[in-house]
């Protein structure tokens, strides 16, 4: 069924049906990416879904992080205390992928038929703190403990202060992206005549692998990488006239051009100094940082960019919202279907731009149970069966 290149209007995953049972940011982000590239993703959630309880909240009392990771999905709300096993099983029987933040066995413990959970063609992707096997399987963990245990915290921050976690839910997001890539790899195997699979992604593992370059380099160097006593222009952003700015002068010509631009020709022409720049940091940094402090971020970025010197301003979310480059690439997107009472909001856009099958933000995050009735009808439940489920409180409808 090859089509003429360029004539397609499909989205990459629009043949896929996904049930998303996740209650963690990491697993939910995997589901969000599946939805963004075209899959029909139905969140099956209880009224106590922790993703709806994460601060901070917006004026409509919605969790901002919850809204971010649940956009583009539909919501079927159920009460796990009621007999809902048959509903969940029916959805799994129609799905290509189920996204989980716990072991698949937990569904069986909830009474969902094992043949539905373990159906051969189904792809199960479980994103859990420490994985489905190993000494820590089932143990709790979060972004903070993953940054600690992976080694990342030991190199983030300053020497005389505590090791530091990363900004926001980055560890969870990395694990979610890894899970998305892995489950699509498993899908490729299924397409080639393989069967379904269980993809096991531990948040800790996804983060710890990324500290591996620091690990191996440190082992070969004989000493672990440490947090610096202070940030200098060679190790991170330093103060300039209107904020902070980073220069990473990793090559000799970056060094030369940057020092000339800063009006420090003596430093620019000193190749010995460039080679020993780490050792000489204490001596050079005050000179360079004094020059930097006289300049603005925009001025430095423009001049150094013209010279092809790697450098960059620290930008905050207010500044990035009007950033000329992100605007120039149409990065920010408003959902096609704004389901919120508060009107349309701009979301961050595609993490990567696909030439033929674009990312698309079709809908805002769903209210709890916003799609309960339509999802059940699509799954083949008769009207009176749906009424029965709603009557006895097994399925919840949106209240708004």
């Amino acid at each position: 069924m090859t089509r003429e290149p360029g004539t397609t209007t499909r989205r990459a995953l629009d043949d896929l049906r996904v049930v998303d049972l996740s209650t963690s940011v990491a697993a939910a982000w995997c589901g969000r990416l599946l939805a963004d590239f075209g899959a029909d993703v139905v969140v099956v959630e209880g009224a106590d879904n922790p993703l709806r309880g994460l601060a901070p909240f917006d004026a409509e009392e919605r969790s901002i992080l919850g809204r971010y990771v649940q956009a583009n999905k539909r919501s079927l709300a159920i009460d796990w205390e009621q007999d809902v096993a048959a509903v969940v099983a029916r959805l799994l029987d129609r799905a290509d992928i189920v996204v989980l933040s716990a072991a698949p066995e937990r569904l069986v413990e909830h009474g969902v038929a094992r043949e539905s959970v373990e159906r051969e063609a189904l792809l199960r992707v479980a994103v859990t703190p420490h994985g489905l096997s190993g000494p820590l399987a089932g143990a709790p963990g979060n972004d903070l403990t993953h940054w600690a245990r992976s080694g990342w915290a030991s190199i983030n921050g300053l020497a005389d202060a505590p090791p530091l976690q990363g900004a926001g839910p980055i560890a969870s997001i990395m694990a979610g992206v890894a899970a998305y890539g892995a489950v699509l790899a498993a899908l490729h195997q299924r397409e080639r005549g393989g069967t379904g699979d269980t993809v096991d992604v531990a948040e800790l593992d996804a983060v710890a692998v990324t500290n591996g370059a620091s690990m191996l380099r440190s082992l070969l160097a004989g000493t672990p990488q440490a947090r610096p006593a202070r940030v200098t222009f060679q190790t991170g952003p330093v103060p300039v006239a209107d904020g902070h700015f980073a220069l990473t002068l990793s090559r000799a010509h970056f060094w030369r051009d940057a020092m000339n631009e800063l009006g420090l020709p003596d430093l620019a022409d000193d190749e010995e100094l460039f080679r020993n720049r780490r050792e000489s940091a204490a001596e050079i940094a005050p000179l360079v940082e004094a020059k930097l402090s006289e300049r603005t971020r925009a001025d430095l970025f423009e001049r150094l960019g013209d010279l092809r010197v790697v450098a960059g301003p620290v930008l905050d979310m207010g500044e990035l919202a009007k950033n000329e480059h992100l605007r120039g690439r149409d990065f920010f997107q408003t959902p096609d279907l704004a389901t919120s009472a508060g009107g349309a909001t701009e979301f961050p856009g595609a993490p990567f731009k696909m030439g033929a099958t674009p990312w698309q933000l079709r809908r805002d995050a769903p209210a709890l149970g916003e799609h309960s009735l339509e999802v059940l009808a699509e799954a083949g439940f008769e009207a009176d069966a749906i009424d029965g489920l709603v009557q006895r409180g097994a399925v919840l409808e949106a209240t708004s």
Binding site: P163, A202, M215, M317, G328, G355
Partner: protein, 416 residues
């Protein structure tokens, strides 16, 4: 090679970290990944030809060439083969063009103009292989006002908004210590390739992917953007705190270690109180509910800090985990290599390298029930597989390979 991508081959011109990590993940999933380098300009993460041998390898007899013994390069290029081709010479470029039809995937992370200058832009590549998937990973993407601005992890962290969120609550914006944006973009590179692969599996159609490190990383902190868009609030730095949960911190212990712990649910708070043997904390109405603990977080941190200052980190971590509390001792870049949990899941694995010998490497970020992934190759030495790959795929014999080395088009050493 085994794994779900065992039927695929990729020709990659990736270098340094983000692109290399993306394509290493392909290799870990079973694909035949062949990296192209030039003797004149090897992968920047090999370190230059002038670099000294790492300290711990100076007494290792097999460690001859520092550029083959870089911890950075060797950490992110497992399961690849590497060949050298000088693309500025007609024969080097011709050989690459003969390899492209044999690979369904090409990946590169040059600044956006380079591939076009080599005559290897997407249109030229699809003339060689119509269903090709091309991943182009760059600092700021292939369009927009900043497209030609160079960038690396250390500058993408500030420009993507991450640095403004990273740091202590009362301190300046900071970078995270080791080019974190490359790791994020690396995972997204795999995600992009797998998205395109499914589309090709269904339709037979390849495509071009433009991955901007700035945008990929922005989405990893996108909730802060949504907070600004929906409330007008510009989020600041939180140190080790969390907007919902308390306690949530990293505390010094008696034995000079640091212990991270958190309570995300009331039950975990009660488990912390029980582990500490402090019934008075459990009954303190300020701390009974999540909101109260958050409001009184300074007092809570002081109490926990005092408690942990009298405890040894590892035994206490074990007791907290057993009680259902998220807890971890802060590992450093040496101790992490011995973590039994990471060893058990092959996240850290000993890999035998032809020059370095056996060292712990970062391994697998995911596992598949249908069959284990395998780490079959250490990171390649410069040009290690040129003769093998050109022979196997293009039928080039030893004499022809010798001519290529003679003419400087290929080889395993610095240029003459």
């Amino acid at each position: 090679m085994s794994g779900p991508l065992a039927d695929l081959r990729a020709i990659v011109l990736t270098q340094a970290w983000a692109g290399s990590f993306s394509t290493e993940l392909l290799g870990l999933l079973g694909a035949d990944v062949i990296q192209i380098e030039a003797r004149k300009r090897p992968d920047s993460w090999r370190a230059g030809y002038e670099s000294p041998m790492p300290v711990e390898l100076r007494a290792v007899p097999s460690a001859h060439n520092a550029w083959n013994c870089s911890g950075l390069y060797n950490a992110v290029n497992l399961n690849k083969r590497a060949i050298t081709l000088d693309l500025s010479q007609p024969d080097g470029l011709r050989l690459l063009r003969e390899l492209i039809p044999l690979a369904g995937i090409v990946a590169e992370n040059f600044t956006p103009r380079v591939m076009g200058n080599l005559g290897l832009d997407y249109d030229s590549l699809t003339a060689l292989r119509p269903d090709l998937i091309l991943l182009s990973l760059s600092a700021y993407g292939a369009s927009g006002p900043w497209r030609d601005v160079p960038g690396i992890g250390g500058t993408i962290e500030p420009t993507s908004g991450m640095s403004a969120l990273n740091g202590y609550g009362d301190g300046p914006p900071m970078n995270s210590g080791s080019m974190l944006p490359d790791a994020v973009a690396g995972y997204y590179g795999l995600a992009a390739l797998m998205t395109a692969l499914h589309h090709r599996d269904v339709t037979g159609e390849g495509q071009y992917i433009d991955l901007s490190m700035m945008e990929a990383n922005f989405t990893a902190i996108g909730d802060a953007s949504l907070e600004f868009a929906s409330t007008g609030r510009v989020r600041g730095r939180r140190g080790n705190r969390h907007p919902s949960h308390a306690p949530h911190g990293v505390y010094a212990t008696l034995d000079g270690e640091w212990l991270a712990l958190a309570a995300e649910f009331d039950a975990q708070w009660l488990a912390i109180c029980g582990t500490a043997g402090r019934d008075e904390w459990a009954s303190d109405p300020r701390f009974t509910e999540r909101e109260g603990r958050k409001t009184h977080e300074d007092e809570l941190d002081a109490l926990i800090g005092t408690w942990l200052a009298g405890e040894k980190a590892a035994p206490l971590k074990g007791r907290l985990l057993a009680a259902g509390v998220p807890a971890a001792v802060v590992a450093d870049s040496h101790s992490v290599a011995q973590d039994p949990a990471l060893r058990a899941r092959e996240v850290v694995v000993d890999v035998e390298h032809p020059e370095m010998g056996a060292w712990p490497h970062p391994g697998l970020p995911f596992r598949f029930e249908s069959g284990p992934l395998s780490i079959e190759r250490a990171a390649p030495t410069l040009g290690q597989h040129t003769s093998e790959v050109l022979g196997e795929l293009l039928g080039i014999d030893e004499d022809e390979y010798a001519r290529l080395v003679q003419e400087g088009i290929s080889g395993e050493t610095p240029p003459d």
